[in-house]
């Protein structure tokens, strides 16, 4: 009984939240799952029944292994548990096999791996300084942050309905971020010697003696591991690289905040390099030995796919495509264009993979790469010239993720989570970030709606979306109630517009005659509408990063 009493203590809101969302995930087990379910089953089979040399060559199923080696090893380990559930799912030839035991195993493996995510959230909560601690538990930034992360709508539907293993991967990412924020040593000690801004007020040597250095190496290690699990995280690698170089390899700043070149530490660079190299060697080494690296890379980076996914991710190219379509329609009406010269695919449907532009120039992978780099560069410069500590790093990381989402080649709508989750950390610290976060999250999450198109899941996605959106907006409004309102009238209007849009797309449209004529219209509307919001959030975040003075200067003021 005593143990129960302790477990039920007031401090245990975190475990209640974590358990609650885990139970919700268990309830989602019988929901619809996408082809990604089969993808992962196939990978289990490949890694279980074939030698390593065959992993990246096997092509019985169309869903070939296209994640880096660590993920393959992860599937290999899973498969040794899976054999106790159902041996049949480990057969490469057994395409589209989904017995109830397979389903249970795969779903539970995702739920179980989320333990890492929960731990990472717990670590992240420690980094949030509790300056604005209110009396109520529900108004504490830590509480709000853990709800925003653990109950994240996007993660719930992508992992536990659509089926993917993003939870523990984001767990690794959050853990590495948390390590960059954290300092070794006793928490109480660090609270004593740090001021509210997180800056050490002791001389550097003393901090070193007390072991208060941030755990950069650990952070770098986790990120390197993460990269070898899923290479989509390469998008945010520039932020990591520059931050570690600037804030870890250079040990001191000039008084005005610029870098002091002679403080460069070779030991640190080499140790960082060693960590990254060892991790990469562990992952890619075997394939290098087998002389299979080109094959592995050709699987990891397939540029044969189109500019946009079947459903346009709400980014710059969605707007570009839409503009092209509008121009071509106008052109046809005003007879500037010759109907015979227009490629058929672009007019009949928006759902074809290879979208051919009619008026505007077509986009090549190289163009998108250049655009992405150009978009990322300013934020990287900011990180170098105006270091703002871990917060600045986080903003740069979010910007990297968002910029790649905006301009990348064949971006999936799910990639928006890469920006939303790190942004959650920022949102509970500053009102300005909170407002950008809310716009980004709400539109980003709404843009995930087309992932779930089956009728039984319609109420779930709407309910969960309402749950998350209402909570995030209201709790952040309460947190920052003393500052100016989070939204101006235009933003409010835009966000409210998502409601009618959903009603039109999923409740009205199927009953109209347009359903046969323009089946792609709801997807197009959703994608363009969300693209506007995400572009706006991206732009606003960029402006705030560029305008914000470095930490040193604000101090003086």
């Amino acid at each position: 009984m005593a143990a129960f009493t302790i477990a039920a203590g007031t401090g245990n809101w975190f475990s209640a939240l974590a358990l609650g969302v885990t139970l919700l995930k268990c309830l989602l087990i019988p929901t619809y799952h996408s082809t990604d379910f089969e993808v992962h089953r196939n990978w289990l089979a490949i890694t279980h029944s074939l030698p390593i040399s065959q992993w990246y060559y096997e092509a019985t199923s169309e869903w070939t292994l296209d994640y880096p080696p660590f993920f393959a090893w992860f599937e290999y380990i899973l498969s040794h548990v899976a054999k106790y559930f159902d041996q049949e799912m480990l057969n490469v030839r057994n395409l589209n096999y989904s017995s109830s035991r397979t389903l249970l195993f795969q779903r539970f493996s995702v739920i179980f791996m989320d333990v890492l995510f929960v731990y990472a959230v717990h670590e992240c909560c420690k980094c949030i300084d509790g300056k604005k601690v209110g009396k109520e538990l529900t108004e504490k930034p830590k509480f709000i942050l853990s709800v925003l992360l653990m109950w994240n709508f996007g993660l719930l539907i992508v992992d536990h309905i659509h089926f993917q293993y993003n939870g523990f991967l984001f767990g690794l990412m959050l853990l590495s971020i948390a390590r960059l924020f954290q300092r070794q040593g006793l928490p109480i000690l660090s609270r004593l010697v740090l001021n509210s801004g997180g800056q050490a007020i002791l001389p550097p040597r003393l901090t070193k003696v007390l072991g208060l250095q941030k755990r950069h190496m650990e952070g770098a290690f986790f990120f390197a591991v993460l990269l070898h699990f899923k290479h989509i995280y390469l998008y945010v690698a520039p932020a990591y690289g520059v931050y570690l170089l600037r804030s870890y390899c250079f040990t001191a700043n000039k008084p005005d905040g610029s870098v002091r070149w002679n403080s460069f530490s070779f030991v640190r660079v080499i140790s960082l390099g060693l960590v990254v190299f060892l991790v990469s060697a562990l992952s890619l080494g075997p394939f290098l030995a087998l002389n299979q690296l080109p094959q592995v890379f050709s699987r990891l980076f397939p540029f044969k796919r189109g500019l946009c996914h079947a459903y346009w991710a709400p980014n710059f190219w969605a707007l570009y495509n839409a503009l092209d379509k509008v121009l071509s329609v106008i052109g046809l009406k005003l007879k500037f264009l010759d109907p015979n010269n227009i490629p058929k695919a672009s007019m009949t449907s928006g759902l074809v993979q290879q979208f051919q532009h009619t008026v505007l120039p077509s986009v090549t992978p190289l163009t998108t790469l250049i655009c992405t780099l150009i978009a990322i560069l300013p934020s990287i410069f900011c990180l170098w010239f105006k270091p703002q500590g871990p917060r600045g790093f986080l903003r740069c990381l979010t910007l990297c993720a968002l910029s790649s989402f905006m301009f990348g080649w064949h971006v999936h709508e799910k990639a928006i989570l890469l920006a939303i989750l790190p942004m959650s950390l920022l949102s509970v610290q500053k009102a300005g970030d909170a407002s950008i976060f809310l716009i980004l999250t709400t539109t980003g999450h709404y843009s995930l709606f087309p992932l779930l198109f089956t009728a039984p899941e319609l109420p779930i996605k709407i309910l969960l979306m309402l749950l998350f959106t209402i909570y995030s907006i209201s709790s952040l409004k309460t947190l920052f109630r003393k500052e100016k309102p989070l939204f101006n009238w235009m933003e409010t209007f835009y966000l409210l517009g998502l409601g009618p849009l959903e009603v039109c797309c999923e409740f009205v449209f199927p009953f109209t005659s347009w359903k046969v004529k323009y089946p792609f219209l709801p997807l197009l509307l959703t994608s363009v509408y969300c693209a506007v919001g995400i572009t706006y959030a991206w732009f606003k975040l960029y402006v705030s990063v560029l305008i914000d003075p470095p930490v040193g200067k604000t101090k003086k003021q």
Binding site: T5, T10, G20, L28, P30, T31, L463
Partner: protein
């Protein structure tokens, strides 16, 4: 209310859990020829839509009463008719006479589940929210936590959204009744409760406390003055609402009698299947059903029920109070469940509803009871392949209760409302100080038994000679727990008003 958003969140969580549970299987899925309650509800839509009112309750070539004949009061029939109109609009095959028997499809399941959700959303959930808001003496945060716990009560969710029934309608109306009567809108309250009875006759379990409470109120106001006026008004409301509901069946005497015969099937025996009441548990030792003739069984069960609920009802009539009313609702419903004739395992929901209402006052005991009540449904839930959602929702409910009421810190005698009882016992037995500790141990034993039995039922195969071993054990254990709760609730009812008076004297 500045915390409106938390209330919205809580309601949304309740709705999400309901809908996710509804994705699971329903009773009798793919099991011809009789299917289950799901088919019964669909069949009622078919009958009410295709046949004239006069034939609804009669056996005919179009209406085989052996095949899920309508045996609920008229309001259920009207509800089925309403659903049938919507079904007709979407897909007429769903309710075609004769040919639609055993109709099953994903779309139809979706439709049926949606009707439950809509009924719940319109009737039960607003009643819960309003009820918790009307509670006095607790903070807004506690009110919201209370709503969460009540909405997460697994028994109702699993039966309505898993097994398939519309209990939230009748329970919702009953809750509106409780709400009305405790807020002194007696007429509206009794109207709502009449609707509840006319939706499901099982609501009669709650009728005596309603009657006694309202009668007590009239007595209090003085039977010669205002009290009499109120009594007449109440009587008129009840009669009028009944007449309104039964209007089509009052045209002929035979109609009314037939409906009543359908509602109270006396010849179906003392109990059916496995139910956690006295008769079924006693059946393990002695086959009462075979020994005693039916009319004696009837009289016996009536006597036991009557005797067990009498003290609480008298107390309520003499000293009507809102809290006493809710506690009497619990003990009366529990008496009916344990002792009355022809009880179903699902009737435990009628006890759970009033227990939910005292959740904030006696969190420890209420949570315990609600867990046991869900456990007692285990054999039924296993038959419907609802193991997974049952376990998950039960754990969710338990966690919600533990975090929002910190129930394990509320096990003192005072908090269990047993203070005055133990004081009066101590007058005769001075060493009687172990009550609180004893209850904690009983809780532990009970929970461990339930967990072990659940594990055994799920993993082990019963011995061939005793195929029902585990379900009988589940019923037996639950019945023991329920008996304990009956004693407990009667004790706190009998000693409650005394302590109230004592406190007044002290202050």
């Amino acid at each position: 209310m500045e915390k409106w958003y938390l209330m919205t969140i809580v309601v949304l969580i309740g709705l999400t859990v309901r809908w996710t549970v509804s994705l699971n299987s329903y009773s009798g899925a793919g099991k011809p020829p009789m299917f289950g309650d799901y088919e019964a509800q669909r069949h009622w839509q078919e009958i009410t839509f295709n046949l004239p009112v006069k034939q609804w309750y009669f056996n005919s070539s179009d209406n085989n009463l052996q095949y899920w004949g309508l045996d609920y009061p008229p309001l259920t029939a009207y509800h089925s008719l309403l659903c049938a109109y919507v079904a007709k609009f979407i897909n007429p095959d769903w309710i075609a006479l004769h040919t639609s028997r055993g109709y099953e499809s994903q779309a139809h399941k979706l439709f049926m589940r949606t009707t439950v959700l809509i009924a719940d959303l319109l009737i039960y959930i607003p009643a819960v929210v309003l009820y918790c808001c009307s509670l006095k003496d607790i903070s807004t945060k506690k009110k919201i936590a209370n709503v969460l716990c009540i909405l997460l009560y697994p028994g109702l969710i699993l039966i309505d959204y898993g097994h398939f029934q519309y209990n939230s309608v009748s329970l919702g109306f009953a809750l509106w009744g409780v709400l009305g009567v405790s807020c002194d809108w007696d007429l509206l309250g009794s109207l709502a409760f009449c609707l509840a009875i006319n939706y499901k006759q099982m609501e009669l379990y709650h009728s005596l406390p309603f009657f006694c409470f309202l009668l007590g109120k009239c007595f209090k106001k003085g039977l010669k003055g205002k009290g009499f006026v109120l009594l007449v008004k109440l009587a008129c409301t009840v009669v009028a609402s009944f007449v309104l509901c039964w209007l089509p069946f009052f045209t002929e005497r035979e109609q009314t009698l037939q409906v009543l015969r359908r509602l109270f099937p006396v010849d179906r025996g003392l109990f059916e299947d496995k139910v956690a009441n006295i008769w079924c548990s006693f059946n393990v030792f002695l086959k009462i059903r075979d020994i005693l003739p039916r009319h004696i069984q009837l009289i016996m069960s009536f006597c036991f029920t009557f005797l067990s609920l009498l003290p609480a009802c008298i107390r309520l009539t003499l000293q009507p109070s809102s809290k006493g009313f809710r506690l009497t609702l619990v003990s009366c419903a529990l008496s009916f469940f344990l002792f009355s004739f022809q009880v179903h395992e699902k009737s435990i929901l009628l006890v759970s509803l009033p227990v939910c209402l005292v959740l904030s006052e006696i969190p420890f005991m209420s949570t315990w009871f609600l867990l046991v009540s869900t456990f007692s449904l285990l054999p039924l839930l296993l038959k419907d392949e609802l193991l997974m959602p049952s376990v998950v929702t039960t754990m969710a409910f338990f966690i919600a209760c533990v975090t929002s009421f910190s129930i394990f810190e509320k096990t003192s005698e005072e908090e269990l409302q047993l203070k005055s009882f133990s004081i009066s016992v101590r007058k005769y037995l001075p060493c009687f100080t172990f009550l609180s500790r004893m209850i904690q141990y009983l809780f532990l034993i009970s929970v461990i038994t339930m967990v072990l039995l659940t594990l055994m039922t799920v993993t082990l195969d019963p011995p061939q000679k005793l195929p029902d071993l585990f379900s009988v054990l589940v019923c037996f254990v639950s019945c023991l727990n329920f008996l304990f709760f009956l004693v407990y609730f009667n004790i706190i009812i009998m000693w409650d008003s005394k302590s109230g008076r004592n406190q007044k004297k002290i202050s």
